[in-house]
Amino acid sequence: MSVRDVLSPFAAWKHLFRDPVSIKDPFNREASERYRGFHQNDIEKCIGCGTCEAICQNGAIDMLPVSGVDGVQTRPGDSGLRPRIDYGRCCWCALCVDVCMTGSLSMSNAYKWVEADPDKFRYIPGVDKKHWDDYEHGYRRPEGHRLNAPERIEMPELEPGERIDSFAEIVGGYSVEQARLEADRCVTCGICVATCPTHMPIPEYISAVRDGDYEAGLKLLYDSNPFSQICGKICTRRCETTCAASHEGDPIAIRWLKRHITEQVPFERYRAIIGEPAAATGHSVAIVGAGPAGMTTAFDLARLGHKVHVYEAQSHAGGMTRYGIPEYRLPFDTIQREIDLIVSMGVEMHYNTRIGADISMAQLQQDHDAVVLSIGLWLGRSTRVPGSDHRNVYKAVDLLRRIRDGEQLQAPKSMVVIGGGNVAMDIARSMARLQQQQHGQIAITLTALEDKSHFLADPVEIKESIEEQVTILDSRGPQECMVDDQDNLLGLRTWRVHSIFDENGRFAPSYDDGDEMVHEGEWVVEAIGQMSDVAILGDELTEKLDWNRGRIQVDEDGRTSESWLWSAGDMVRGPDVVHAVADGHRTARSIHAHLSALDKQENA
């Protein structure tokens, strides 16, 4: 035995008064900064899309209604549901945090929780308050770490130089590969469906793109929207504003995926996929106006077996999609295919037939079991500023119609457009093309009351107008269409806009008359809104009907105060194609219920 062996037990004694290296209180130690502990959820940021539930491999997450809690409410863009986590199943993998579309879900580094009741280990983070709700540390999705591609697949489009001297369609359409990549970005949560006026089954048809099952996709489209080809090109796509992907990236290109489906299925297959109409019921319905609302109503009623007659004042169907939207956005053949399809259901078209002139409403009432009035908004509103009655002051809707009707307009060398909506952009861009073709240069000034951040036009329209050399001036209020001694139009005089609405929110623009500008123009075009040509109804019917601020009063199904008459589309809902489609469905359903009730009465 060595000396060392004898002394060593005593050597240990020198450690007697040192601080221990072990942790004094292991039960109250904070976990590491990025520890995956109990969840936190910012419930104001959360939209209840349920993607966390969908990705959870343990089935640990439920989506529960929490409407009314802390301002959460079911509304467009928010389901009003929030995730509840069952910690008997959670394995703390954090896939739910990694996939979260808004970045609301995270994990605190709290890991300790003692409870006698096992059901307590199931709670809604952010709603059921916990002491770790405000913990600073825990697992957050690392910067740049995304399970979903945040950026949209770019749509092939004609460059400004390529498109400016023709009305060729600008958008090229996705290839199959591009569409699949874009469809792959969709988490199919379905939050968008409530926002679509006609509630198209968006997640389902996007899944069809992903699966390459285009015929199934087409069936889904046409069961909810007989204007799917058209909406695939020019829909105002409100759905995309509530897309879950838009919170941390670009929204899914829902409109372009719809378009892609319609382009992948050969047109001669459409009819077979959509299916045959039901057997004839013997009922007959008249529809006045062959726009999206009227033709959707016609499509639905014809599929249900009712005989439908559509009366149209113009030589072609399509309404504003045919006569209002420029060809570079919506080519004729797209519209024609849509119309042909609807007509193929047995709808009878009466073109160049104007109510009041060629046939009366009374006649329609007499000949049919129900009548639908869907004549749109075809009369342009005027600013009524001095000089606005000059022969070279036009309404945008009239010019657009003439261009689309094939008239060879002589474009003026310079022109001013009044208005900041899509119609203003449409006429400015159409005339820019004509100017380029006829004069080799573009001189168009667009003035709007709104400032740029409040323009009503689609931001894409504004961007493309600027690319096409339209000069856009915001916050300019029209004062006068200036005319010289020889009665030539010189242009538009404007003042800077102070504010558009008064303190009560009423339209009452105020101006700074010290900031005056004169915009040169051989023409001035007003694009400040439209109204309906209800004069065709005749005095008697006009008197009978209930009205609401210049619009025919309808109930929620589109029925007027006259039991035989419904009204649908822009004239009752305001201008928008997909709203008109939704309205058409609603009206058709109401009429079908009315006709079925008639049958029952007869049988009784």
Partner: protein
């Protein structure tokens, strides 16, 4: 450094593509016949004496398992990953436990998690961590984790959930259409 090593060995071991990750980390692909000679060469002549790990990836779309043998050269502080592609329908592989005894543990894990067999590897058929496992190997991508969790672990009473789109319809437009 790694590129020159690859250039020297490329023809001799018929190596596939070279992926340089860093100056001190690269990956090469090798055939099943050449795996053992290559590993021996790397271990005994190039200084890669340490087997860091042996793992697998399931490339189900390509019908392939990828085995990765990661070797470390302590002296020169560099790593090489040797990749080997194995058809998913023929998942037998030669054991290397005689080159590195620790390989037996990795091979046992791969047998359990991916169903890749290494005949003659010690204790390869014994349970590793999944005691009493009865389903297909869980790291195979066709293994449906959620289905397994649902079938294996019963729900506590009181669970309910709602589909966002359906719930929003009930709340916002129960009759099929809103009026907006």
């Amino acid at each position: 450094m790694m590129q020159s090593l690859y250039d020297r060995l490329k023809d001799r071991f018929n190596l596939g593509e070279f992926t340089g990750r860093r100056a001190d980390l690269a990956f090469v692909t090798v055939s099943r016949e050449q795996l053992r000679p290559l590993l021996l060469h790397l271990r005994d002549l190039e200084g890669f004496t340490h087997l860091v790990l042996l793992t697998a990836v399931d490339w189900i779309e390509d019908d392939t398992f990828q085995l990765t043998y990661l070797l470390n050269d302590r002296a020169r502080a560099r790593d090489i990953g040797v990749r080997l592609m194995l058809p998913r329908d023929d998942t037998q592989m030669d054991s290397i436990h005689d080159l590195w005894p620790t390989a037996a543990t990795y091979q046992r894990e791969l047998r359990e998690m991916f169903g890749i067999d290494f005949p003659d590897s010690p204790r390869v058929n014994e349970d590793f961590i999944l005691e009493g496992w009865v389903d297909i190997p869980p790291y195979r991508r066709e293994f449906d984790t959620l289905r397994f969790a649902r079938e294996t672990y019963p729900e506590r009473p009181g669970r309910e959930t709602h589909d966002p789109a359906t719930y929003m319809k009930q709340q916002l437009y129960p009759d099929g259409e809103d009026n907006g």
